[in-house]
């Protein structure tokens, strides 16, 4: 298993290299540069040139990349152009913020959606099934940012139950941190329920057709035992892969939700950096997201045999 993990990580190296080069090239193709953005309308040629020189932007691109890459290899992703913070700690700090929201949302969504999907499949075509499928399809169809705005409007403004703005980290005040996280988590949660429930239902339908389910019934096991002991684990395996993919995608993709609820997460950092042309941060974020994606998928694959022992992680 260790060998598998190492092999997988080594195999991801070319992928990450491509990500690094592509991001580097891409972001520099974009018009506008950080120096002129920092100076705004005041930029005269001299101050622009000196700022560009200070930021190392006047060197040829391959040289810039080589320097960045060399530093990146030793774990130094450089410093932010706009805030002068070291990129790696910045990215990691923002990552934890996003991770909290995403993990909470995905875990809650899994806890609700997977059983619901199983039950829907178990009672396929019943009114309950139709209702659950309808709800999940509906949830799937609402854009997250719109949902977020509606929640904000309702819980934050109309009812005044939840704080609408800001973010408190757990280390500062766990209680308030929780309050601030409820709405963003709920937004993602509602959306992911839709995705997961459909997946869980589909895979449960597959599994419930198989002989060993009938075999389990033929042993005299009750429906709940058949469902949870025999069907659940097997039906969960494909859903598990989806959860992994979802985590990977969400970690970089919740910029929109982070924007609505002003959470200082990784997605927001990336979007802001793109607007500010903060090259080191953009590169750092993208590389980090790619690494996380690779790692999440690795962990998913390593844990997969828990749900389906036929697949071995080797």
């Amino acid at each position: 298993m260790l060998r598998f993990a190492v092999t997988r990580i080594l195999m991801a190296v070319p992928t990450l290299l491509i990500v690094a080069i592509a991001v580097f090239a891409l972001i520099r193709l974009v018009p506008g540069d950080p120096a002129s953005l920092m100076l705004g309308d005041l930029a005269d040629a001299t101050s622009l040139a000196s700022l560009r020189h200070n930021l190392g932007l006047d060197r040829p691109l391959p040289v810039q990349f080589a320097i960045w890459f060399q530093n990146a290899l030793s774990g130094d992703l450089g410093r932010s152009i706009t805030s002068d913070q070291a990129v790696l700690p910045l990215v990691i700090e923002r990552f934890w913020v996003s991770a909290k929201v995403v993990m909470a949302a995905v875990i809650f969504a899994s806890l609700v959606a997977v059983p619901a999907g199983m039950i829907a499949a178990w009672r396929q075509n019943s009114a309950l099934d139709v209702a659950l499928v309808a709800v999940s399809t509906l949830l799937l169809s609402v854009p997250t940012f719109w949902l977020g705005l509606l929640l904000l409007l309702f819980f934050g403004l109309k009812l005044g139950w939840l704080p609408v703005v800001g973010y408190v980290s757990f280390s500062d005040d766990p209680w308030r941190a929780l309050l601030y996280l409820i709405m963003p988590v709920m937004t993602l949660f509602l959306h992911e329920i839709g995705v997961l429930m459909r997946m869980a239902r589909a895979s449960a339908l597959e599994v419930l057709r198989l002989d060993y389910i009938t075999h389990a019934r033929a042993k005299g096991l009750s429906e709940s035992v058949v469902l949870w002991r025999h069907a659940f684990k097997n039906a969960f395996a494909p859903t598990w892969t989806l959860i992994g993919l979802m985590l990977g995608n969400l970690l970089g993709g919740i910029a929109v939700v982070e924007t609505v609820f002003t959470i200082p997460g990784l997605g927001r950092l990336l979007v802001d950096s793109i607007f500010a042309r903060d090259y080191p941060v953009i590169q750092g974020c993208m590389l980090f997201i790619a690494v996380i994606y690779v790692l999440v998928n690795l962990v998913v694959d390593l844990l997969y045999p828990m749900f389906d022992p036929r697949v071995t992680a080797e």
Partner: protein
């Protein structure tokens, strides 16, 4: 199980809210983006300046009438040749660490700024790269500071006082670590730099030993500056809609809000709104080297086609007033001549178009959708009016960085653009005037105008300068290299529990502010 869970969730929420503890609230001010650093005038933007100028102070600062007044200096004298400036420092002024401010600190600060390694943003203004050069700075005694220039300048003090230069703030040398790297600002301002949680907030604490400059009430960055609150917290909230919701909901005490929200927020019983004018200029730029727009008649036609009143009303949500002049209305130089602007005249516009030989060629207006800027709505209005006059106008909305790039390189026909605040008219004209060959971003390159601006840089006499600016204004209206629409409005909403709050030039001033409970 599912049902129970679904039911439990709202209940849990309700409980959470009911027992949420009440916390003594600091004065909470919204920032739309994090500050860049705490290093004054080095790594900065408007937000950074706004926060940091509560913490540090310079020798001189702007008053509300755009005149430069002494702050840490008690007074200053200029030699007759206009080359030597002698500052007498106020006595008994303390740094946040308790040390008393002396001329040695001023000299240390100045030398630090002049060191290229510091990367002070205003260094080019004083090292000769932009003509003016400070040839020497000395501290003959503990309370006197002398600076010598290479040539007379009407703008030396005005530049020192610029907010983006962080007022050339005087810092204690412990602001810098032993290795020369920046630590944190130890200044003389009414507030002490507190905790900075990147991406989340910055807190400021009152400096109880603060020595306020004289005055009954705040006057720009001078006047009475007592810290009255226990704590101020700048909360970083990038999203405008969220800011609005939060200020209505009471989570924010002070927030800059979109002009479009002012009417609505005025309805809120818990809020006060102020909409002071600032010296930013919202404009339409023309590329005078564009084959089409190089024709002055066409530019004049466009100006005549625009109903500026309506544009300004729409773009500023009825808060702004038309001002076609580069001189801000608050300035002492703003006179009758400056009030003369363009007039909306569709017939004239059509006649001018015919004269210009315009045949329906497309004219593209670049705009961006930054929240704080009226770029986009102004462009939308202008497009509609130009079309009404028979001009084939099209809007291209760009991301700000891209538009800025086009501005820098001069690659555009027309853009809806905003200039940052310049209080002195000479500086204001300089923003958009200059030779395009060297500086493609410049808009106006009429040699006669450039010559006049040069004169305004050197001549200190107010009356003479006034004449120069009047002449410049007439030339600009005739040339129409750009259309200055109006000066920005800084709409601020603040909770009624906040007393004495006012922004100036878009910067939050926390002194003389108190909070009722």
């Amino acid at each position: 199980m599912t049902r129970r869970l679904l039911f439990a969730l709202p209940c849990a929420l309700a409980v959470l809210i009911a027992v949420s503890p009440a916390i003594a609230k600091p004065l909470t001010v919204a920032l739309n983006a994090d500050i860049r650093s705490s290093n004054p005038g080095v790594n900065r933007d408007d937000n950074t300046d706004g926060v940091i100028l509560n913490v540090v102070e310079g020798l001189v600062a702007y008053g509300e009438d755009a005149r430069v007044k002494p702050l840490l200096a008690k007074s200053y004298e200029v030699s007759d040749d206009g080359l030597t400036y002698t500052f007498s420092l106020r006595e008994g002024v303390k740094f946040h660490n308790g040390a008393e401010m002396t001329a040695a600190d001023v000299l240390w600060s100045w030398n630090r700024y002049m060191d290229p390694k510091t990367e002070w943003r205003c260094l080019p203004e004083f090292d000769g790269r932009n003509r003016l050069k400070v040839v020497s700075a000395e501290a003959p005694d503990a309370h006197t500071f002398v600076m010598k220039l290479n040539e007379p300048s009407a703008l030396f003090l005005a530049t020192m006082a610029r907010t983006d230069c962080a007022m050339t703030a005087i810092l204690h040398k412990d602001s810098v670590k032993a290795d020369g790297s920046w630590d944190k600002p130890i200044g003389t301002g009414p507030f002490i730099f507190g905790e900075w949680k990147r991406g989340e907030y910055v807190t400021l604490n009152p400096f109880h030993d603060y020595q306020s400059p004289p005055g009954e009430k705040p006057d720009g960055y001078v006047g009475s500056k007592r810290p009255l609150i226990d704590e101020a917290k700048f909360l970083i909230v990038p999203d405008a809609a969220t800011v609005k919701a939060a200020v209505v909901g009471g989570s924010l005490d002070v927030a800059q809000v979109a002009d479009s929200d002012v009417a609505e927020l005025r309805q809120s019983p818990a809020l006060d709104i102020s909409t002071p004018q600032v010296a930013t200029k919202h404009t339409f730029l023309f590329q005078t080297r564009d084959p089409l727009l190089s024709n002055v008649k066409l530019r004049q036609a466009i100006a005549a086609a625009l109903d500026m009143k309506q544009i300004v009303a729409a773009a500023s949500n009825g808060l702004g007033t038309v001002n076609n002049s580069a001189v801000p209305p608050t300035s002492a130089y703003f006179d009758e001549v400056q009030r003369q602007g363009y007039s909306h005249d569709l017939q004239r516009a059509k006649a001018l178009l015919a004269e210009a030989g315009y045949k329906g060629e497309e004219i593209t207006i670049l705009a961006n959708q930054r929240v704080a800027m009226p770029s986009y709505p102004a462009a939308v209005m202008a497009q509609a009016m130009m079309q009404a006059a028979g001009i084939n106008a099209r809007i291209e909305v760009l991301e700000w960085a891209t538009q800025l790039d086009r501005y820098q390189t001069g690659r555009y026909q027309m853009q809806s653009f905003s200039y940052s605040s310049r209080l002195d008219p000479a500086l204001s004209y300089e923003q958009f005037s200059g030779p395009k060959d060297e500086q493609p971003r410049k808009v106006w390159e009429n040699p006669k105008a450039l010559d006049l601006i040069d004169q305004a840089y050197v001549i200190s006499n107010e009356e003479k300068r006034g004449k120069i600016f009047d002449a410049l204004h007439r030339m600009m209206i005739e040339d129409t290299p750009l259309i200055i629409l109006y000066n920005g409005v800084d709409s601020v909403a603040y909770s009624k529990r906040v007393q004495g709050y006012s922004t100036w030039e878009g910067k939050p001033r926390l002194w003389e502010v108190s909070v009722a409970d």
